[in-house]
Symmetry: C2
Subunit: 350 residues, 2 copies
Amino acid sequence: MSGISDVARLAGVSKSTASRALSGSGYVSEKTRAKVQKVAASLGYVPSTNAASLVTGRTRNVGVVIPYLHRWFFAEVLEGVQSALLERGLDLTLYDASPGTEARRRIFEDFLARKRFDGLIAVGLEPEDHELEQLLRIGRPVVSVVGSGPATTVIGIDDDDAARRATQHLIALGHRQIAFVGGGSSRWASVDRRRLTGYRSAMAEAGLTELASHIPSEVTLPGGYAAAVDLLGASPTRPTAIVAVCDEVAIGAIIAARRLGIRVPSDLSVVGIDDHEYAEMFALTTLRQIPREQGRAAVALLEAQLDDPASGPTQVASTARLIVRASTGPVDDRHSVMQSDPRPGIDHVM
Amino acid sequence: MSGISDVARLAGVSKSTASRALSGSGYVSEKTRAKVQKVAASLGYVPSTNAASLVTGRTRNVGVVIPYLHRWFFAEVLEGVQSALLERGLDLTLYDASPGTEARRRIFEDFLARKRFDGLIAVGLEPEDHELEQLLRIGRPVVSVVGSGPATTVIGIDDDDAARRATQHLIALGHRQIAFVGGGSSRWASVDRRRLTGYRSAMAEAGLTELASHIPSEVTLPGGYAAAVDLLGASPTRPTAIVAVCDEVAIGAIIAARRLGIRVPSDLSVVGIDDHEYAEMFALTTLRQIPREQGRAAVALLEAQLDDPASGPTQVASTARLIVRASTGPVDDRHSVMQSDPRPGIDHVM
DNA sequence: TTGAAAGCGGTACCAC
DNA sequence: GTGGTACCGCTTTCAA
């Protein structure tokens, strides 16, 4: 393992000059720079980030705090973050902080306090009050993707608007019995709340407040499935349409409908939010967000704050785009129309 | 930010004593130790890992190289690794190395060379020859979960055996037309290859070599769906059973079958390998592996190698357990039996 | 049992 | 433009 002194010696210069030549800061003649770099390369010299950090205080590492790895949205954001960091030569330290676990407590208590990073990206974190306090006490910039985060930069989509437009899409198709499925079964995520609000306001605007109903469920595919089985199987006044809190729940609902012999979209329309990787396979109408891009944007925002600590927190909310596929269609009041297409709901089979 | 010197000064001892008292190595009187620790606590002292690493050479950080984040198996392993590291107070640096990407090249070329970790855990990595060489050149212990890895510790299930038993299960139910679905469409993962081999040997042992067939597909749920649509929709001699390379493919196949009006298991039996989080929802018969445990085991193995560098590479393969649910059943040659149960295949509705 | 001092591998200030 | 040197914060001999 050759160090910078080895490089310096073999290049016939001092450590300081070698350092300048390699890090690119400070005056070095073109000639010596070339020489030093050649020697460094021939030696396979790799600078010790550790040593550099010790003196500069910069770690060239970013921490990512994330509560779930196995949910589509989170995994996508993480991939986006990783790729953007990679391009900048930055490392990524992962903190998997499932809500309510001992692991999460230790992360906030011990791991984050070590400050082995220049900044933090929190994905859908929804920190408790004392957690938020701990987060700020660290004294490093924090960028949140989704989730709440006063005093930090937050980025995401306009959830209220997305759910409202999803609902409006169904209303425009003539639906009135529209249920909102998902969220609220255990921990309420603020995202889910905002989406429910958007749904409710669209219902209210259409004078359908009386018909609005919220079916709680785990925010997962099996959760959506289970909730839909209950909703569709038992209810005497079954809804003609569902707004799902996200695509996973929407897909679970579609699978449940199929199992129950309910045709999508002729008997039931379903709209989600996400544009999940399975959305096309299920011909799901949805409001598209691109979490990977949100992850990349988070890195860019963090970088900006790192370069200029004075720049305060920003709020960035993009607008989700409605993607109409075949899981939504006009309401059919007759309930007994002949089906000419043997496979309704799938016109984009992969 | 108080450093160890502050602690030392306030405790009225030297830096060295403070260091010993806090790190727990070396002789310190019980009295001074208590004193030092009290002062450290009151100051909120957090040692700089950086500075410690610089002198000890140990980073207390583990690198995880993983090609996919959005696939169930990988996410589960990662969670297992993370939780086991957390318990040991170790950080986790993530390297997302999708095969064939520029990002992956840079990871192997630049990032790993920095050695910001004491050891590496490679998940399903399947390194190319030159990548493997780079991996070994780093001179840090490497533990692989799945994937190939000569000269490194490898842990996983006996894939050949798992696929063989999946196939035998179907044969025992009377099936003969059994297709193997998945893998081989683009990059062949060695896991997938071993599973295909297991399937083939079971077919051969039963004298069914002639009937064996491999339907390639992407190893994803939509991949399995697409392959099954082709296989089940078009084929005049449709198989009565499918062995899927993993649960995601199996579930895709079940969804495809339902769309095509093919009943599972009366018209088609499907068996997978994994015991995916959706397996129960689809009543999928499968060979269970517990990737989270594999992740935890990887950490334990790495720790062993870290503590005793002399201990050579180990190979650990556990045996997958057959979980029989309702996606497999006896072959029905009459093809027109009355169905008494209106919802075949789902007796474990969630 | 404790303290003094020498680094770990770099960066950065300052004089030349 | 370049070299000397102090120092980042901690661990670790070595003496006392």
